[in-house]
Symmetry: C2
Subunit: 476 residues, 2 copies
């Protein structure tokens, strides 16, 4: 008797129709009500279950619409499905997942070997590089901007995916603070700076194109260009930053971090910047400038962006709010040369690289009302002191084992191991002791020339930095 197989929970969250429908569906799908078997009439089943006849009728209609039952012509409904296929389904997913290795794209097959991105599932620990101090972020102010943005949405026209107010606020900020020369419509708002690299690679890189990156380098850049089939070459650094290699033909694209080279923090000299611009023929060689933490410069005022020196529209400028504000915000941006605006806008929507309008409008207000600059000013002072504190601590307690390259800005620094080439082992020892860091050798493209540690200082209070340095000293 079918009613015996059904158990309705009258106190449950789900309505009776929903419960009955789902249990009948499951009985048919698993073959317990076989194909061709007639169910009781709605009157009969309602009476057996102690529910209203409507409840049963609705369930039957739903299952008929889904194709489980034939309820035509007012007859008793008949199961129309052979449960064979779905016996497995009823048995639970985990036990039935086919264990054959799924065939992936060539790109995806290699992803697990890539040492990037790092999978930090655990909470942030000192001195993980790449982070600002989220504890210092004015969450209340930001929360008000977000709330107002959402309330105002009722009156807002549906607009382009890159919100005009944010583009304008950002164009003004970039012009006055970073020396970037761009009109608002050259700015794309993206879900992350990495998305900007994906977009650039998709639009500009053909299979086999040569791309230069710094060596050591930000691994996400090499990964993005390789994903589009580029041949990526790492270019050595000297004191002035990336070198121009006279022996090599001009590549399709050069990726660089001139404000603070990632990871060394070196500032690319003006002479070197000019050299690269001269070398890059408009329309032939693109320069991608990743200004991921250019807002934070300590030894002088922030150095203007390379993009502002370019008079021929060959620099694409990438920025992020994840370092300048908080990584929770997940927003990057890309300034493209005028000739590429149309193509990039279509490409952005094709790939689906779209940021929430609520966040965009809130950020426009946060910038326009001066909160962004105020926060940057405060963080610049704070991070400056933290950099100095870490440098002093490392020199005092670990001066014999490592030498510090003091960056003129940014949120992290490199400490090179004076002896030995085992930064990976050192990193593992440190992580076990509670200090998170990244091996310099893991950022090398070619054979690593230096071994050392990439240490973040911006996200940590001076007392936390001191404690971490003591822990490090005890490990060496």
């Amino acid at each position: 008797m079918i009613s015996a197989l059904i158990e309705l929970d009258r106190a449950g969250d789900d309505g009776l129709v929903s419960q009955l429908t789902s249990q009948l569906r499951s009985l048919i799908a698993t073959g317990r009500i076989g194909k061709g078997r007639a169910l009781p009439s709605s009157r009969r089943l309602a009476s057996d279950l102690g529910v209203s006849r409507n409840t049963v009728t609705y369930a039957f209609e739903q299952l008929a619409a889904e194709g489980y039952l034939d309820a035509s012509h007012g007859r008793r409904p008949v199961a129309t499905v052979d449960g064979g296929e779905r016996v497995a389904a009823a048995g639970g997913l985990a036990s039935n997942v086919n264990s054959a290795r799924p065939r992936l794209s060539p790109w995806a097959s290699k992803l697990k070997q890539a040492d990037w991105p790092m999978s930090y599932q655990a909470p942030l620990k000192p001195l993980r590089p790449g982070h600002g101090d989220a504890r210092e972020f004015p969450n209340e102010v930001w929360a008000r901007c977000l709330r107002r943005s959402a309330v105002r949405a009722a009156k807002r026209e549906l607009g382009p995916v890159n919100r005009a107010r944010l583009r304008e606020a950002l164009a003004h900020y970039l012009a006055t603070s970073r020396g970037v020369r761009a009109t608002a419509d050259q700015i794309m708002i993206l879900p992350s700076a990495q998305a900007a690299l994906t977009l650039i690679a998709a639009v500009l890189i053909s299979k086999g194109d040569a791309v230069w990156v710094e060596d050591p380098c930000y691994p996400g850049a090499a990964a993005a260009f390789r994903a589009s089939g580029a041949r990526v070459t790492g270019i050595r650094l000297d004191e002035q930053g990336m070198q121009r290699m006279p022996g090599l033909a001009a590549p399709k694209l050069i990726f660089m971090t001139p404000s603070h080279q990632h990871p060394t923090g070196r500032l690319m000299s003006l002479a070197r910047r000019t050299e690269f611009l001269r070398f890059s023929r408009p329309g032939k060689t693109w320069i991608v400038e990743d200004d991921y933490d250019g807002e934070f410069h300590y030894d002088s005022r922030p150095v203007p962006a390379l993009q502002g020196l370019d008079g021929h529209g060959r620099v694409l400028y990438v920025g992020t709010f994840s370092k300048a504000m908080t990584s929770d915000i997940r927003l990057g941006y890309l300034v493209v040369p005028p000739a590429l605006v149309g193509t990039f806008e279509i490409a952005q929507r094709h790939i689906g690289l779209i940021a929430s309008s609520h966040i965009q409008e809130a950020l426009a207000e946060f910038i326009a009302d001066g909160h962004f600059l105020a926060h940057l000013r405060r963080m610049r002072r704070l991070y400056h002191a933290r950099r100095d504190h870490l440098v002093e601590g490392l020199e005092r307690h670990l001066g014999e084992v490592m030498s510090v390259e003091v960056p003129s800005g940014g949120i992290q620094l490199v400490a090179r191991l004076k002896r030995g080439r085992a930064d990976q082992a050192a990193v593992e020892r440190l992580v076990a002791a509670g200090v998170e860091t990244r091996a310099l050798s893991s950022l090398a493209l070619a054979r690593p020339r230096d071994h050392g540690l990439l240490l973040g200082f911006a996200a940590w209070r001076e007392s936390e930095i001191s404690a971490a340095v003591r822990t490090m000293a005890s490990c060496f």
Copy 2:
């Protein structure tokens, strides 16, 4: 005299150091202060300009750090840069942009020919398809969730890019409302549903792989798979939805919209669903189920997702909040089979397909507190009535020129032209009259078999629908 070339605005927003630095930089960069020329001493320039000596010293130090000046050894600073390169830069960008066509990737070169995505820069007009009614969205409630999410961020641990609270709320919603069988960790939170298709194509599609889509079909799907090099074949529909073509070998991937076929709104029968599942060998043929508006079903309760019938982990389920809530939110999601979770998580971060934590946490609360289901219930009633209203209006006023295919759910419907094959011309006539619609023929992959109009009904009040129908009637 250099001081004569400098004009400082004491009332301006920018500080004097910043103004002086930027004007000196510009004078050097444009060659007006030539390479090798000595500047006045800081004392002298300060006196000439009527500013403090510190102001000038800071500016000199900054320009020295940037490489424009040599200010070593306490001598008067000397310009170290040949302005030649940057004369162009100073002349303004627009006039100097190289007019040579930039070389794009093969994918990007074809973007402008693709008839997708539509570029609607203008405000939403009746009866544009693809939209819910943003005016009905509870912006105040959502604003509170956003505000609380941002305030709570101060206490929140840095976590994975897919927030656990949202994944759990979504897993529960999908299980109870859409019949999707998945644990929270199978869910990826993405910046849009299109981003989900991009991610799927990147991970699963190799160049030359066969992909089936419905014909007519959602153009973004064909675009995403083609971008990864797939050979895309359009499969005809019958009354039950996409047909299985016995003559064709099983493809790598089948994209379908079984809840409400896009654009026709047809519900795929259970028999057809089962047939496709049987046909798709685990690990060989993937099925992508795009359930873009499955929440809105009117003629019976929402039809459970195909994903829930699959016992072998071969269905990838795509959803969006842009239809169910508001397009401002820009959030999509993807449920992947357990065997693919690890690869998809790495791939997601590689491509940078990350959604703001603020939005994710706010949405988790919006769902957990019942606001999401309440909104869906209200919209379901509203959209149901609007569908009926549009169908009635079309049948009454335009019954002679078009026949309506009544969809069992969703937010749009197809009206076929009874005579003629000129839906594009009809669309243009209607747009000029203030009614936005999309030509059915533009959604065909092969030669279009039907001509008609895709009309949205969900975003419009009944009075607005009536007015639009009258406008349409006057155009035919």
